[in-house]
Amino acid sequence: MLELNNIHARYGAITALRGVSISISQGELVALLGVNGAGKSTTLASIAGVLRPWQGNILFEGSSILGRSPEQIARRGISLVPEGRDIFPSLTVEENLRLGAFTRSEKTEYRRNLGEIFDLFPVLKERLQQPGGTLSGGEQQQLAIARALMSSPRLLMLDEPSLGLAPALVDQIFELIARLHQSHVTILLVEQNVDRTLEIVDRAYLMNTGLIEGQGTPQQLRTHADIEGIYMGVHRQGNP
């Protein structure tokens, strides 16, 4: 479904990605793991069209999306929930959701998606007319994911969805991602909570300093001593 081939990207003079190649199949839940500055968010930004890689290619459903604008990529069915949520604080919850469905012109589809969103996130129905900026952190995260789902994306990208949330809310977010995966949504997940991530993903890539340094199923990654030592131990919850 999605293929990144030898992607190089930089912010000004700083090289952020140095030949990243990953692939995701239809219906898969794949994670990008790594320390801060490894290039995980940059990879998502490159796919979403926010950052233009200077080398390599990105194929989505067989055709290149490299150099396409963020709006063109969104129209192809790729949704990104960025780190920090980026909900529209001055817009109501309903307006945020309505804008999420911008690429879907059919009213029946909008109503159906809205109904499904309210089943997934009942709190949003209660807060429909409230400005997004007045929601709690957990509610804002739910709104950000709900807004992305309103477009019925073929690929959902989640950047650090559990960041800054209370432990109980983190559980809810991971349960939600697992549920979305069960309903056959293709998901690319960036997370620092390695243990929880490996519980729900099909595969994961390990990134470091703009490079992919390993990949495999959760079982393979858990038993890979070197990788565990370098990348996971320091980030595993409960381990200092």
Partner: protein, 297 residues
């Protein structure tokens, strides 16, 4: 003296300044660009009225509509040929472009028409007054207030009830995120420039009605008013633009009656002193742009 006439004049001035500020802030909200060519849109509206009212038999209402249309299309045209090519470069490039567009339009008017003021033929209603509660009130002021109420209502409906309007507000919050939801950048920016042009066109009618003439440099004073009003109200808030416009009008009107005659020529200096005081206490302007406080719990 503060009486009914003064109050209606002040509200009329506030209405005009609010429309002025809205036209400037709608572009700033999305592109973070202070469009210095905004004043020249008012000039375009003025010259359209001068040409059509003076040299064609068109009814004045049609002339006014065409003046607004001319300002709107000029605004859209400048976006297309001047701002769009440099939009991805840098904010500085856009700012310099806006100066260039401003100079180009001004010099075009100087060369093609004349550096001297040209009289604009206005309908009788702009020169007459009506008696309200024993006070003579110019129709021009009443028309300004009614027009601004209509325009603010229409703009509110557009921004609240339509997807394009919601996208415009979202783009003012976070343009990149808006684009990531599939909203085309060009559509949003063109819509903002169109609204800005319409506002400038409408303002041109009432601004020029005060002097019944147009010059190539007529756009400079309203641009300054719009800029100061948006700074007072908040550069990123449409509500702030309206508030800023009215606050500007209230302060400048009150200074006009409260200052002793010998200090009246320093009215602008006093005005800016007030602006500095406002900014010392509210550096982001009177109206905050975002409901950004995250609720805890």
């Amino acid at each position: 003296m503060i009486n009914l006439e003064f109050i209606i004049n002040m509200i009329s001035l506030g209405s005009l300044y609010a429309m002025l500020a809205l036209g400037l802030v709608i572009i700033y909200g999305i592109l973070r660009l202070v469009n210095f060519a905004y004043g020249e849109l008012i000039m375009i509206g003025g010259y359209t009225m001068f040409l059509l009212a003076g040299f064609t038999p068109l009814p004045w209402l049609v002339v006014a509509v065409l003046a607004v249309a001319a300002a709107m299309f000029t605004s859209l045209f400048t976006e297309l040929v001047a701002f769009r090519p440099v939009r991805e470069k840098s904010l500085t490039a856009m700012l310099i472009t806006s100066f260039a567009v401003s100079t180009l339009l001004q010099n075009s008017a100087l060369l093609i028409i004349s550096p001297r003021a040209r009289a604009v033929t206005l309908p009788q209603i702009f020169q007459t007054s009506v008696m309200i509660a024993g006070t003579s009130v110019p129709w021009r002021n009443i028309l300004t207030i009614v027009t601004s109420i209509v325009m603010l209502t229409l703009l509110t409906l557009l921004l609240r009830r339509t997807v394009l309007g919601i996208a415009l507000r979202a783009a003012a919050d976070n343009f990149t995120m808006t684009r990531m939801l599939g909203v085309p950048a060009n559509t949003v920016i063109s819509a903002a420039f169109a609204i800005s042009g319409i506002m400038a066109g409408i303002v041109s009618i009432f601004w020029i009605a005060r002097s019944a003439s147009v010059t190539p440099t007529i756009g400079a004073p309203p641009l300054l008013v719009a800029f100061v009003a948006t700074v007072i109200g908040g550069m990123r808030s449409l509500t702030g633009a309206v508030v800023g416009g009215f606050v500007y009008a209230i302060i400048i009107s009150l200074l006009g009656v409260l200052l002793p005659p010998e200090l009246l020529e320093f009215r602008e200096a006093f005005m800016f002193a007030f602006v500095i005081i406002i900014l010392l206490f509210r550096p982001e302007g009177l109206v905050s742009s975002k409901t950004s406080v995250e609720r805890v719990g």
